[in-house]
């Protein structure tokens, strides 16, 4: 199976004039792009603006994308260049940092910096979502939890996960799907309730 085939399918649709397919690409990569851009700009709001600009640039440049590299690699380069240009144009020096889950001090320090620029409603929702996802993962059966963590955290392919868990690829696919469904059920409840609570705070 060719790597990046799902992205290529969406890219082809965008190139044929289907703008809805570009929404799916943005939804999939917005977190990664914002995380990437935040190495260069100081606050989340600015990172979001730069990410938005990067996505628009990517959309306009899609006719030149020939599928010779993975879509995210291509998007990554656009985002980096956009962020660098933003830094230069605003006469700021880039701030480089990596969020490292293995380094709690840095993680909590960064958490504190981000909190300064966020609103209470956003924080409540964000924290609730994060804790919901974590508790949902903890509640998963062992085989489902292992499969989804190997996929999302370690970035292993289904074949590699199958080899690691000693089961067929089809089983891996099913386990990951069931894990996502279980987490998603909890997440939807939070989204519905979380929005209401956020408005109350506002």
């Amino acid at each position: 199976m060719p790597a990046d085939s799902s992205d290529l399918s969406l890219v082809r649709r965008v190139q044929r004039g289907d703008k809805g397919a570009f929404d799916a690409l943005v939804l999939k990569y917005q977190h990664k792009v914002v995380k990437l851009v935040m190495r260069y700009v100081r606050n989340p709001a600015e990172a979001e603006d730069v990410a938005q600009e990067a996505f628009i640039k990517a959309y306009r440049a899609l006719p030149q994308f020939r599928g010779e590299s993975a879509f995210y690699t291509w998007l990554y380069r656009i985002a980096i260049n956009t962020a660098k240009n933003a830094v230069v144009s605003r006469d700021r020096s880039p701030v480089e940092f990596e969020l490292d889950a293995q380094n709690p001090d840095e993680f909590y320090d960064m958490q504190g910096r981000l909190k300064d620029s966020e609103t209470p409603e956003g924080l409540v929702l964000t924290d609730e979502i994060r804790s919901t996802v974590n508790s949902a993962i903890d509640a998963l059966p062992e085989d489902l939890r292992t499969a989804i963590v190997l996929r999302e955290l370690e970035g292993l392919s289904y074949e590699e996960i199958a080899a690691a868990m000693g089961c067929p690829v089809g089983t891996v696919r099913s386990r990951i799907f069931r894990a996502r469904e279980a987490i998603d059920r909890r997440l939807r409840e939070v989204f519905e309730g979380g929005l209401g609570r956020a408005e109350e705070l506002g």
Binding site: S5, R13, Q30, L99, F107, R130
Partner: protein, 295 residues
């Protein structure tokens, strides 16, 4: 396909683990189905949470929530200081012009269609332009009166009176037609090789005559003279001789001139047809032509 199977496919597609053929179908549905798109967005949120993408998460989760509930808050006018990146990008992209519209070739199609397979495109474009120019020229010519001479066209008329043998009287009249002069164009006597210099630059206004009886033989004779340089020397001589003979016999009436020119033309055409034949055959044709011209 039931929903569970569809969602299972969506999960596999999110991980780039769905076969390409199924990806094509699902991508089409994903681009149009808001519910499926919302689920796709939540899968991204789950991955971001597991990877502890705190920086991105702080910005994006509120927008993911909006995506999840189908943009419920979008119309309520609520203002979120951060987030909703996907919705904003979507709105901006909606305002962008289509990348290619119909006929745009995607990645795979573009790679498949090499330059060789499009070799005819520049030719077709050139043919269209040429056809357009030709059509415009035809329409422009047809729009003009049949009597009206073409603007700027110089018509060379060889009077059939005398040719080299009778050089003292030979002259070529070049008539420069006026744009709106109809048949009464201004004739300029430009080459009077043996006439007086004063006459060479004189202008004469020819009498208005109906072009029907006069012009055709002159035109035909002119045609013969003009094209004789492309014919065989023997035939050229025969054509010219025929014209001279016609002039000597006083046959410069329209009918005779027409007959002369047509005969010359037929001789030329028959020569062209017989050019591959033996010399005897050609000479017989020439003899016949001479006989005809000499009456």
């Amino acid at each position: 396909m039931n929903n569970e199977e569809l969602d299972s496919q969506l999960s596999a597609m999110f991980d780039d683990e769905l076969p390409a053929a199924e990806c094509e179908l699902l991508a089409r549905r994903l681009a149009r189905d808001d519910g499926l798109k919302a689920r796709w967005g939540r899968y991204a949120v789950i991955g971001a949470c597991i990877r502890m993408e705190r920086g991105a998460q702080a910005v994006m989760l509120s927008s993911a929530a909006r995506v999840a509930d189908g943009h419920a808050g979008a119309s309520s006018g609520e203002r979120r200081p951060h987030g909703d990146l996907a919705s904003r990008v979507s709105r901006l992209v909606a305002d962008e012009p289509l990348l290619a519209g119909a006929g745009f070739k995607g990645v795979g199609e573009r790679l498949a269609n090499s330059a060789v397979s499009r070799w005819w495109q520049p030719l077709a474009g050139g043919a269209v332009v040429a056809a357009g120019v030709a059509a415009a020229a035809i329409l422009w010519l047809r729009a003009r009166s049949p009597d009206a001479p073409i603007v700027g066209q110089t018509q060379i008329i060889a009077e059939t009176g005398n040719l080299p043998r009778a050089l003292p009287n030979a002259r070529t009249v070049v008539s420069a037609a006026l744009p709106s002069g109809g048949a009464a164009g201004m004739a300029r006597d430009v080459s009077d090789s043996v006439g007086s210099p004063a006459d060479a630059d004189s202008y004469v206004v020819p009498a208005a005559v109906s072009p029907a009886p006069f012009a055709p033989p002159l035109e035909l004779a002119n045609f013969v003279v003009a094209h004789s340089e492309y014919s065989m020397p023997l035939l050229r001589r025969s054509a010219l001789s025929a014209l001279v003979a016609d002039g000597l016999t006083g046959g410069d009436t329209g009918a005779d001139a027409a007959d002369t020119a047509q005969s010359a033309a037929s001789a030329e055409s028959s020569a062209a047809a017989d050019s591959g034949h033996a010399a005897g055959s050609s000479s017989r044709t020439l003899d016949a032509s001479y006989a005809h011209y000499a009456h």
